[in-house]
């Protein structure tokens, strides 16, 4: 987006700071609910979100992105780590202590068919934030709701209608109006357009973009591929199996992607410019994401990585800055566009899961 670089400059207080964030869903068995294992959905995340910026979070489905979103909006209780919002620790706040803070952090959901109660009118849905947070508005709630509907590009007359009377894109606009009602500081959008027709996706993304500049919002936008968040993110975090494998600002990530997983995700995005297309390698990621119940040892990506060596199997690469580029961190032993971290290893043992193909 068009945020001046200064706003994200060093020294500014982060709006959200996440350190070592972990969420394990216990797997229980039998009547006594004995724990026999855990889904390690989120397994140690560190990142910050600066006021006014947009952090894109990308990764295949099942990588723990939604869990991450639900943790920072505190819809889930973290298993470990710390979440700080505006410098305050909100990691383990209870329902009532969290309630007043909920005004500042709101969520836009993935499925507009499931995120609106089919038995409530649009008016009821969009006015719920005012009722639940007991917020009085100057000209009454109805007026406030109608203003919100206009803000997101719907007619105020839709007040008395029911969700089933709207298309997917319109429903998502209703969800956006609800999320913005209390003028939150941080908005977490979990795949906000992935359930919509491609023709409508851009409209909704543009709406989010316009609303950000209009209302001074900070976004965490989750997506399962890079195409959607490419234009709106200031920084992008790439997630794989509960971990961030690469995080960088947009130019740096697109210009010099370092993690093989990032390059694989990028090659899946159609390139509009035919000249660039011919120069690019197409990397096909084969196989599914391994189970987060028992993630692979060492680098979690090694079962699908075409550069994997012995060290990848045994030693987990730390998420660190490898180049002077500010804030570009990657977790890989053999990164692209950066010095090899474990030279001398042979790739003879490379996994067969992923393969790279020269495009025709």
């Amino acid at each position: 987006m068009t945020i001046p670089q200064q706003t994200t400059a060093e020294g500014a207080e982060p709006l959200l700071k996440v350190s070592g964030l972990v969420k394990h869903f216990p797997i229980t068995k039998g009547v006594l609910r004995r724990q026999v294992g855990a889904v390690k959905a989120v397994d140690g995340l560190d990142f910050e979100v600066m006021p006014g910026e947009t952090l894109g979070v990308v990764g295949e489905s099942g990588c723990g992105k939604s869990t991450m979103g639900r943790l920072i909006t505190r819809l889930l209780e973290p298993t470990g780590g710390k979440i700080e919002f505006e410098g305050r620790d909100i990691t383990h706040l209870g329902t009532s202590a969290m309630r007043p803070r909920r005004r500042d952090v709101q969520m836009i959901f993935q499925d507009p068919y499931s995120s609106l109660n089919p038995r409530h009118t649009v008016g009821t849905i969009v006015s719920a934030p005012f009722r639940l947070q007991k917020v009085e508005t100057e000209h009454g709630t109805k007026k406030a709701v109608q203003d919100l509907l206009e803000l997101v590009g719907l007619s105020p007359e839709h007040y008395n209608r029911y969700p089933h009377e709207f298309s997917g894109g319109q429903r998502q606009r209703i969800g956006i109006a609800r999320a913005l009602a209390l003028k939150p500081k941080l908005v977490v959008a979990d795949e906000p357009v992935s359930a919509l027709d491609v023709s409508i996706q851009a409209q909704v993304v543009n709406l989010l973009d316009d609303l950000q500049s209009e209302l001074g919002l900070t976004y965490v936008i989750i997506a399962h591929d890079l195409s959607v968040i490419r234009h709106v993110s200031d920084r992008i975090a790439v997630m794989y199996l509960g971990k961030i494998v690469e995080i960088a600002d947009r130019e740096s990530l697109y210009g010099k992607p370092m993690h093989p997983y990032t390059t694989a995700l990028m090659s899946a995005v159609p390139v509009p410019d035919p000249k660039r297309r011919t120069q690019r390698k197409r990397i096909l990621l084969t196989g599914d994401v391994p189970s987060p119940i028992s993630p692979p040892s060492g680098c979690r990506f090694h079962t699908r990585c075409w550069k994997a060596t012995e060290v990848c199997r045994t030693v987990e690469p730390p998420l660190i800055a490898l180049t002077p580029a500010a804030g570009h961190r990657v977790a890989c032993h053999h990164p692209e566009n950066a010095p090899d971290q474990a030279p001398g290893e042979t790739s003879a043992t490379a996994a067969t899961g992923g393969k790279s193909v020269e495009s025709a």
């Binding site: 819809l75 969520m107 959901f109 995120s115 609106l116 409530h120 639940l132 008395n160 319109q170």
Partner: protein, 329 residues
């Protein structure tokens, strides 16, 4: 990409609007849509009309019997063949004076007794359904929404009750119950017992449905949206889940009522229902069994009353289910 918002929204409406004309400002509520569908279902409407007529007939039984019949407990020995103990006329003594004939031995007006029997049947069926729905919704929604050990406990109880020999239990219970209880006497006590027992053994049917619905509803994102706004469990249960449960509960209530009618008839047939001389359909059937060869009409009339009532409720309930089912055409 930089077009004004209103244009993009309008274009989108034009592209994907499947909700019909956008002019109407008042939305068509899901209930309204179901009603429009139900209005087109002639069979269900016929069922509903019969149900309505039955309810009216039961309410106005005193008026109807005074106009077209005789008091239900009045003996008419003149209508009985003293040698055989059966009604004098053909077809159980049907005539303009005795529309559905008279009962054997006493000569009481069957028309009046069927109407008064409808009162017992419907009161017991509706109130026991109310008992089932209250318990079933409360426990079913708790089991489905909270899950964990609450769900485990409630589900086990439901399994247990569904396997329980309800009929035997009720007969045993009735035989040990005193004749007056909590200020109720005679018919009142028996009806209260019937309502409580039938209602209590019926709640797991509702509970199971509601539990399943709550289980799937709690995963819907609107519940999370509500939580992310600071809503507590009570708000979510009452304002978010309950409105979505009204339709299935309504359907299963209309389907549990005929079951209750049959249960009441069976219990009365077995002598665990209301006590004579208070008329009830099951009891009339039970009397008729002893004399069906000489007076088959006396068996056919209450049998038909039960059959028509149960059928009407079921037809209406099925239609209601189709009308409320979002996947229905």
């Amino acid at each position: 990409m930089t077009a004004p918002l209103h244009d993009t929204a309008a274009a989108e409406t034009a592209l994907t609007d499947v909700a019909g004309p956008v002019k109407a400002i008042e939305g068509r509520s899901p209930g309204r849509i179901a009603w429009d569908r139900l209005k087109r279902d002639k069979v269900a409407l016929a069922g509903g009309a019969i149900v309505l007529l039955l309810i009216l007939a039961a309410i106005f039984a005193p008026v109807l019997t005074s106009l077209f019949g005789h008091p239900p407990d009045q003996f008419h020995p003149d209508q009985i063949n003293p040698d055989l103990g059966v009604p004098k006329g053909a077809f159980g003594g049907m005539s303009w004076n005795y529309l559905l004939g008279v009962d054997p031995t006493f000569g009481r007006d069957v028309f009046s007794r069927v109407l008064y029997g409808a009162r017992i049947s419907l009161i017991v069926a509706f109130l026991s359904a109310a008992v089932s729905v209250s318990i079933g919704v409360l426990l079913g929604v708790a089991a489905g929404y909270f899950g964990g050990w609450i769900d485990a406990a409630i589900s086990r109880v439901m399994d247990l009750l569904l396997a329980f020999p309800q009929l035997l239990f009720t007969i045993a219970l009735v035989s040990v119950m005193p004749d007056s209880l909590l200020g109720l006497t005679g018919t009142g006590v028996r009806m209260a017992i019937l309502i409580i027992v039938i209602g209590f053994f019926g709640w797991p049917y509702i509970g199971r449905i509601v539990r399943g619905q709550a289980l799937s509803l709690r995963e819907r994102e609107f519940v999370e949206a509500s939580k992310s706004l600071g809503a507590g469990s009570v708000h979510i249960l009452l304002r978010e889940l309950l409105p979505n449960l009204v339709a299935p509960v309504l359907v299963y209530t209309t389907l549990i009522i005929p079951t209750n009618i049959l249960n009441e008839a069976a219990l009365s047939f077995l002598g665990a229902g209301v006590k004579p001389p208070t008329p009830s359909w099951g009891q009339m059937l039970s009397d008729a069994v002893n004399i069906y060869q000489a007076d088959p009409t006396y068996m056919v009339v209450p049998g038909l009353a039960i059959f028509i009532t149960v059928l009407a409720f079921n037809l209406f309930g099925d239609g209601l289910r189709d009308a409320l089912d979002p996947k229905g055409s």
